[in-house]
């Protein structure tokens, strides 16, 4: 967002904030009423996969198979990270029947950074922000029709995301 000479943008944002504020008041009540029905289930967290230290092992444990590079996986990552603590990363794909997207940061202590389940009706695209300890290859993995496809990009990091 730039500055507010763009009055419409400003107004939209202010409204959004007011809206978010209103919701915040509701949330506790709503939470106590509805929590059991839709609480995120920790049991589905793949602990073993998040412990792996290489691309091959992470893919093997998480998916049980290996992957091939594809130009239908689009990985948007900065060439030079402004700060390794917060690196915006986006993945999108034109592949059919995508069921999941995973992000691997190869030089991090643990390779698998995040994984997303994409049910039918949800677009095969996600944006998030990741930590990177040092200059590293980032691999986006897209699961399409049961097969894995990847795109890889190097991100230069000189201010690491794992320092003090």
């Amino acid at each position: 967002m730039t500055l507010s000479p763009d009055a419409a943008g400003w107004q939209r944002r202010t409204l959004l904030k007011a809206f978010a504020g209103g919701l915040a008041g509701l949330s506790l009540f709503e939470a106590s009423m509805l929590l059991p029905a839709y609480a995120a289930d920790a049991a589905q967290w793949p602990a073993e996969a998040f412990k792996q230290k290489s691309e091959a092992d992470a893919l093997k444990i998480f998916y049980g198979k290996s992957a091939e590079a594809s130009d239908k996986v689009n990985l948007d990552a900065p060439e030079i990270a402004e700060n390794g603590a917060v690196v915006p990363i986006a993945v999108a794909s034109t592949l059919p029947n995508v069921t999941s997207i995973a992000l691997l940061v190869l030089e991090n202590p643990f390779t698998l950074a995040a994984a997303y389940k994409i049910p039918e009706g949800t677009q095969p695209a996600v944006a998030n922000r990741l930590k990177m300890a040092k200059t590293t290859k980032v691999v986006a993995v897209v699961e399409s029709n049961g097969k894995l496809y990847t795109a890889t990009k190097e991100v230069k990091v000189t201010v690491g995301g794992c320092g003090g």
Binding site: M1, T2, L3, S4, P5, W10, K17, A20, G21, A24, P78, E79, I80, A81, E82, N83, A85, V86, V87, P88, A90, A127, R129, K156, V157, T158, V159
Partner: protein, 280 residues
């Protein structure tokens, strides 16, 4: 004894020097020269864009910033500040009661020179003065609650243009001059001044960081820095600037810090408030 003599001598020297300098202070001319310098050096940067600091100078950084601004991490601070503003003190008064327009949309007028107390009043100082006047304990100046309050106040002032006044009061001129002196004085073992980084080296890279230009540098405050993983106030920024050049920082809101804020914000007059900001 010798030490005392040296000290007195040095202080006298300093005093004589600023008195001498104060005679020829011309803030208006200096303001014009300051702005012309940056506009001349970065002809492709639109004037109002200087308030976006390093992001006005580097396309790669700007793209990451835009992504972060889609849902900026300072949102939490703005909301917290808003809540704090709404919540009365024990005596029933609120922060709003201490400020013109209930504290909404006034960031661009700070800091100002207060003729009554003869000193520069920054927004951070005014907030703690407000608390103390209402029987509350002052807040830590560098982060958390103070950052939340100033984030909210800046947010309600976005787009308003800075309008810092240096009156003809010789004390205001002296404060301006002291701030200017602080800005240009080299210090710390690295022998850097504020200007070494933010004037002479503005736009250059230190590792992957791009040094922000001094023009408009106060407009984005307070900031969420990824490096800190949290919000920081102007006080925090000045303290870290000092320690980065290995100079022992002054106390937050030390008179000199307030003077340098006065000088620098005046140099950015006419530029829009962009705070709270997100920075690497």
């Amino acid at each position: 004894m010798l030490r005392k003599l040296l000290l007195v001598g040095a202080l006298a020297l300093g005093a004589a020097h600023s008195a001498l300098a104060a005679d020829k202070v011309d803030p208006k001319a200096e303001f014009k020269a300051f702005r012309d310098y940056f506009v001349g050096r970065f002809p492709k940067v639109p004037l109002d864009d200087f308030v976006n600091g390093p992001y006005s100078m580097d396309a790669g950084l700007r793209k990451q910033w835009k992504a972060i601004e889609e849902f900026p991490p300072y949102d939490f601070a703005v909301d917290k500040g808003k809540e704090m503003f709404a919540k009365p003190f024990a005596n029933g008064k609120t922060y709003g009661d201490c400020f013109p327009d209930k504290g909404v949309g006034i960031r661009q007028n700070y800091p100002y020179f207060d003729a009554k107390s003869g000193q520069v009043i920054t927004l951070e100082l005014a907030l703690n003065q407000c608390r103390e006047a209402n029987g509350e304990k002052p807040l830590d100046y560098v982060k958390d609650d103070m950052a939340a309050l100033t984030a909210y106040m800046a947010f309600t002032s976005r787009g308003k243009r800075f309008d810092i006044k240096i009156s003809d009061d010789p004390r205001a001129l002296a404060a301006y001059r002291k701030g200017e002196e602080y800005f240009y004085t080299r210090r710390g073992q690295l022998n850097f001044s504020c200007a070494s980084c933010h004037v002479q080296s503005a736009g250059n890279h230190i590792r992957t960081e791009v040094l922000a230009p001094a023009l408009g540098i106060m407009a984005a405050m307070p900031i969420y820095r990824s490096e800190w993983g949290s919000m920081g106030t102007i006080s925090r920024r000045l303290v870290t600037c000092n320690s980065q050049v290995r100079a022992a920082p002054l106390k937050p809101q030390d008179e000199l810090y307030r003077d340098v804020e006065y000088f620098l914000t005046y140099m950015g007059n006419g530029l829009p408030v962009s705070g709270p900001g997100a920075r690497p």
